[in-house]
Amino acid sequence: MRILVVEDEPGIANFLRDGLTEESFAVDVAENGNKGFELASTNDYDLVLLDWMIPGLSGIEVCRQIRKSNSLVPIIFLTAKDTVSDTVFGLEAGANDYIRKPFQFEELLARIRVQLRTKEGEQNILSLGSITMNLGTHQVFSNSKEVELTQKEFALLEYLIRNKNKVCTRTRIIEHVWDIHFDADTSVIDVYINFLRKKLHDVSAKSFISTVRGVGYIARDL
């Protein structure tokens, strides 16, 4: 899951990037509104964390422009503005949620997960066949046995399961699992798919991640 953080205060941007990366998110940071909108319109983010008071385009304007471009990406405002009218104003500009500074990092994570839930009312538990992922505790179980995964492996598995029974192209996988600093060599996906298969194949009998030749991968509920 790839997140765009639009925040001009380097201290806040830094800990957000560190904390979210540890939670297996791919994080890009924009330090002003113009760059924020530019990134949001060129990349396919799963979520945008938007500060209100930033140089260049204000957070509100960035939010409006993103919505104008027909993007439905979940947007969470992060701001020190704390009156009810500010909250209403922010939500009316098209934001999905609003969190006031200073915030608890745990609360921010929980709110991010709420926004990333798919329409079927999924909770923090994702499952694919005998595999279950707990996004809250960052644990993966295969046939009730815990499997240790690295951050990237976890992120890749999460993306595939969220899009299960759909073909995930290499480009889309790169876009959603790796951040902007990653050069577009998609062969790294094959390496990580291999790791995943190995780690999970040890305990499971059937192949659940199939290769779609020349296109990408698909996770199937068997």
Binding site: E9, L16, E22, P55, A80, P102, F103
Partner: protein, 458 residues
Amino acid sequence: MQFNLRNRISFFYLVTTGILFGLVFFVIYFSVRETVYRHMDQDLDAESNEVEKNLVVLNDQFIITNAFEWNEREHGQIEVNPVFIQIVDTTGKVIKKTGNLLAGQLNFDYNLKSKIYFNSSLSGSPIRQVQLPIKNPLGTTLGYIVAAMPLEESSIVLQNLFVILMTTYWLVLFVLFYITRFIAGKSISPINKVIEISERITKENLDERIELPSHKDEIYKLTSTINNLLNRLEDAVLREKQFTSDASHELRTPLAVIKGTLEVLIRKPRSVEDYENKIKYCINEVDRMSTLIDQLLMLARSESGKITPVIGMIDLNKCVQSSIQRMWKYIDEKKLIVSFDDSKKNFVSADSSMTETILENILSNAVKYSPEGNEIQIKIDSINGKTVCKIKDFGIGMTHEHTLKIFDRFYRGDESRNFQVEGNGIGLAIVKKLADLQNISLEISSEVGKGTEFKIIF
């Protein structure tokens, strides 16, 4: 009694018109009375002259030569315009009188030696009377002709006139009082509106303004003056609000950074190096905060007048040098070259510690916005008898509109934000305050990409 403006206006108006109307009515009444009396007096004059013409005095005997005239109708009856004539001798004894006097007799006054008209009465009824001395050719008074006419009708006319005038007077005053009260009320109602709206305006709705009247009169002036006052007040309040909000934002941000960084840090066990880095980072943030708090306190003290400058002759060269020394760490870090010629002595009257703070803040800005290895020039000149200290950098510079706002509290140009230069935008606000306290003026000229020059004029 406390009169409001409306009643006061109508009262004064009423008193003035009351006096004027009184005068006019007085003139009307007395001129009418005079006219009436004059007409009567003319008639009496004609009658008495006629009697005198027809009177012959022979051996102290008064003889009427024209009996026909004496016995005229007006002398015989009392119903229609009677004229009473009576002839008396010098002792006041009635020698002869007209028939209409019947048993009565006209009053005679010994003291009246010449022809005088006066009001008197005949058996209870008012009359107008004249007394004409009868003289022989030698000028000796032999007796008097007393002529009179009833005043009754004229006095009724005059009395009616008086009553009418008096009634009208009070009626007019009464009506006028209410009319002026109404008009005064109407003309001061815009003032009431001004009062009503002004009373309603508090800190919460300071953006409300009083509607300007259509006529450019005094009320218009009053209203626009109050509106201007409100504009200035609103500006001040907004600036204060902005300051409070900026101050809380600036204080909260390092707190949020520290909190967030530490929260992320303790989520997982980490290497000692990681801990050290993050803790150092947090200490840095705490330092940033305490600098800000110190500066805010200094600003607050200088604004509330709690610190007063101790003005004396100070060595400006020494101040410049000590501020360079204090900034040396940062100057050295960026390998900047600071040029300053201290061969000439420069003494100015100012507060030395305040002047050092001013120099240090301006120098610190020059350092912040200068690219590595650049030059900063400090020069002290004498211009028009004033000592001017110039601090010039060749850094990023700023637009003219930014130079106008640079002394505002918490103002930071987009340039400084974009270049990620550390700072809180409070240093120059302090500089301005301290300069104001010592009557030092500041000038700034800057060009984007070329650099900035500050002039401190003592």
